[in-house]
């Protein structure tokens, strides 16, 4: 729709994932003409939603100045922050925790961590939150893992492909995130082997420029986001319905309600964020070789 | 050495008989009568030249003698035996482009020899070198074809045709694309080689002087339909010089006849 000169356009990104529940709900409400953010930010603000399927492309969009805010995993955000020497990206709020797990095949090939030697583990994407977590965990078990090989092969593959790979036995396990964790359990007999219930899964990130130039707007957006997060916790049924509609619109595939509610159990929606936690993630990423040795994250978290 | 020896001695030349040969081509509903009732006898060891303007069927006749094409009617006999297909006893030498560019000079001359059984590799090399020496190219054994001048190319082609030791040599305007100086040299060479190796030769050209210089007999062709119109016997001593005054007289005589036939053919056509 054409936008008149006085209006402020806010460009917000997210993924079509349950872990981006706030965005899914708000996007759906925008579609229905009763926008959550619109109603709280004022009539002059227009929200444009953009759907990305992975963190890096959302971050690229921020680099390319075509996005102001986005829901994203913490690792892509801090990766982008560090690679741009702290110039481009900020984390302005938390969004979701938990929901990620290492799921192994139910056929009993993996009983102990040592059984992973020589096997393949799928992760959603190289360098994303689950991928780093997986590599860190493997390193803690004493395995050597590189980008292209190692004692255990970590295979970044698109989430939708995991199920088929898992069923065919091409991978022994997958370190992934809801709803795929539930899907692997229900449809492929997978068993959760490791679960990090408190790990940060989604954050709200902003372009540094947006924060600089429209700090007040950013602050009000975060407030609305906090409000929305609280609403989610109180209205899970309605939220799930809205999400289901939104996922159908974006992926053209029906998300089964039981899958959604199963995933919901493992997720915790909270806006807490602490620099210490993010610094630990940075250290993890450094340990697995995705970040250079010297990284300054003092400016990463900036709550407006 | 026995096989090799047999390769290098002269084979007895062969008598060719062309009996009432006709040939018609059909191209896109057009019919071209390339040859009509052509008869011709070439004696053993004779050098016969066919002269005529472009398109009169000289190449067609040569191809039929070679066995590369079949006549519609009539037949060709080599020493009384009907010709049914190409054979190593009748080698053809084409215009320039028939040498194989992917082989070097030796490879080209060896090509036909390799298809002869009961010769060892070393013997084949020796035969090939013998003929390359005969045409004066012993130093260019390893040269690539495109590096040779036009005249050298035709020398290689000549060596290639001679190498399988055929009794008949069929030459289709072999010097057509060469310049005058080179051609003069080759006239000398071909006469020398012919005297030495005694082949039956049918030589196609549309250069009357060339025909008079080389042939024992010159057969005059005229086109549409292709027919032999007249025959001239050239009885000058050999080797003949292309620039000699007597040759010029013969040439003038044949040219006159040629022009007359052409104009009468043109009249018929009108």
């Amino acid at each position: 729709a054409p936008v008149s000169a006085q209006k402020v356009v806010l460009r917000v990104g997210h993924f079509p994932n349950v872990t981006h529940a706030q965005a899914l709900v708000a996007h759906q409400l925008t579609r229905q003409g009763r926008g959550w953010f619109e109603s709280r930010l004022g009539a002059e603000v227009v929200i444009q939603w953009f759907v990305y399927n992975a963190g890096p492309s959302a971050m690229e969009a921020i680099f390319a100045r075509s996005l102001d805010l986005t829901y994203v995993g913490p690792n892509p955000a801090l990766n982008a922050h560090i690679k741009s020497r702290g110039e481009e990206v900020r984390v302005i709020a938390g969004a979701a925790r938990g929901g990620a797990a290492l799921v192994v095949r139910g056929d009993g090939t993996i009983r102990a961590p040592a059984d992973f030697r020589g096997r393949r583990i799928a992760t959603p994407q190289l360098g994303n939150t689950q991928d780093v977590a997986c590599r860190v965990w493997l390193a803690a078990q004493g395995f050597r893992v590189t980008q292209a090989g190692g004692d255990v092969q970590v295979v970044p593959a698109a989430n939708p492909d995991h199920l088929a790979l898992f069923q065919r036995g091409d991978i022994a396990a997958a370190w992934t995130v809801e709803t795929w964790v539930s899907m692997l359990e229900e449809q492929a007999g997978g068993k959760v082997f490791v679960e990090e219930r408190d790990a940060i899964t989604t954050v709200l990130a902003s372009s540094a420029r947006f924060l600089r130039e429209r700090r007040e707007l950013a602050r009000r957006f975060v407030m609305a986001h906090v409000e929305l997060t609280a609403w989610l916790a109180q209205n899970p049924a309605e939220a799930q319905k809205l999400m289901q509609a939104e996922l159908l619109a974006e992926t053209r595939r029906e998300m089964p309600a039981d899958l959604l509610s199963g995933a919901w159990q493992r997720l915790r929606f909270t806006t807490d964020i602490s620099r210490a936690e993010l610094e630990r993630l940075v250290a993890d990423a450094q340990r697995v070789g995705f970040l250079p040795g010297k990284a300054d994250v003092s400016r990463l978290v900036e709550v407006p | 050495m026995n096989e090799l020896h047999r390769e290098l001695v002269n084979v007895p030349p062969v008598k060719l008989t062309v009996e009432n040969v006709s040939k018609t081509f059909h191209v896109r509903r057009q019919t071209v009568r390339a040859l009509e009732n052509v008869s011709l006898t070439v004696q053993e060891g004779e050098f016969v030249c066919l002269v005529g303007p472009s398109g009169c069927g000289k190449t067609t006749l040569l191809n039929i003698i070679a066995g590369l094409e079949q006549p519609d009617s009539g037949r060709v006999l080599a020493d009384g035996v009907p010709v049914t297909g190409p054979g190593r006893d009748r080698m053809v030498m084409f215009q320039e482009s028939a040498l194989f560019p992917w082989l070097d000079v030796l490879g080209n001359v060896m090509f036909g020899l390799k298809l002869k059984p009961n010769l060892r590799h070393a013997e084949r090399r020796e035969v090939a070198k013998f003929y390359l020496q005969l045409v004066g190219l012993e130093k260019f054994v390893d040269a690539n074809i495109h590096e040779l001048s036009g005249g050298m190319k035709q020398r290689v082609a000549l060596a290639r045709s001679l190498a399988p030791n055929p009794s008949v040599l069929l030459m289709d305007e072999p010097f057509g694309a060469l310049d005058a100086l080179t051609r003069e040299q080759l006239y000398g060479d071909i006469q020398r080689i012919w005297e030495k190796r005694r082949k039956t030769i049918v030589f196609v050209t549309h250069n009357v002087r060339e025909a008079a210089c080389l042939g024992d007999r010159v057969m005059l062709f005229s086109p549409r339909p292709g027919r032999i119109r007249e025959e001239f016997r050239v009885e000058l001593p050999r080797p003949r010089d292309i620039n000699s005054v007597e040759l010029a007289k013969h040439t003038a005589e044949i040219t006159r006849a040629l022009k007359q036939h052409l104009s009468s053919a043109a009249e018929v056509a009108e």
Partner: protein
């Protein structure tokens, strides 16, 4: 000498200016990596073996698929040139499939073969096969008939004529078709590696893709340089000998 110096100087200045532009913040390092960081990445990736491993995986796929493609394309091209029926059916299909970017085969290949080497090979073969087939066909059609007649008078027949005359005579076409096939195969393999994850090995395309995922522009540019180097080397190793042979024998332009 002077010329080499001038050219060398040009490239040195180019790299220095580039480094300076990045270092003084005119170009952001997320947009353009500094030459130094590219070299550092190369050193690291060579040292930890990941680059060597990726090159190996990619080259294995490429060469294997290419060899199969050529081995199938040559005889099919000959059949095409020889039999009208083949030409009217297979020839038509080949013409269509040659214009199809072979990356378009990826979805089907993944379904048919799974995320395995076979899928990659299939894509490479589809990139090679049709170019070689069509070039062989064209080459055979362009063989001057006089070569065949000359060979026949010397006693060459059927198979001998095909292998010793027709095939070598069409070599210039065949080689240029093989070159085109190589270019297409190389491009489609890169695209396929970037686009899909194959469980059985990580190639250069994956490294490039990962560079993008990690916003590691030094890795992206370094892998691009490696891809260029391999492309040039492959050209040198695979086609230069043939082209030199053609140049020497045929006297065709280099």
């Amino acid at each position: 000498m002077k010329r080499i110096a001038a050219v060398g100087g040009f490239f040195v200045v180019l790299i220095l200016v580039w480094e300076a532009l990045v270092r003084f913040g005119v170009w952001s390092p997320v947009l353009v990596p500094s030459p130094l960081s590219v070299v550092q990445y190369l050193v690291r990736a060579i040292a930890d073996g990941s680059l060597g491993q990726a090159v190996l995986v990619t080259m294995r796929r490429l060469l294997l698929g290419y060899v199969v493609g050529v081995a199938a394309g040559l005889p099919l091209g000959l059949l095409n040139a020889r039999f009208k029926f083949f030409q009217d059916t297979l020839g038509l299909i080949a013409l269509g499939l040659q214009t199809l970017p072979s990356i378009c085969w990826v979805p089907l290949a993944l379904l048919w073969f799974g995320q395995t080497e076979a899928a990659m090979l299939f894509v490479v073969i589809m990139g090679t096969l049709w170019s070689v087939l069509i070039a062989t066909d064209t080459g055979v059609r362009h063989v001057p008939p006089i070569y065949i007649r000359a060979a026949r008078t010397m006693g060459s027949r059927r198979l001998h004529t095909w292998t010793r005359v027709i095939l070598p005579a069409s070599l210039p076409f065949v080689v240029s078709g093989m070159k085109q096939g190589w270019a297409f195969a190389w491009r489609s393999l890169m695209a396929a590696e970037v686009y899909v994850t194959i469980l059985t090995g990580f190639g250069l395309g994956h490294l490039l893709h990962y560079g993008r995922e990690l916003h590691a522009m030094d890795q992206v540019v370094a892998v691009m340089l490696v891809i260029i180097a391999i492309g040039l080397l492959a050209d040198k190793a695979l086609f230069s000998p043939w082209e030199r042979f053609l140049h020497q024998r045929w006297g065709t332009a280099k």
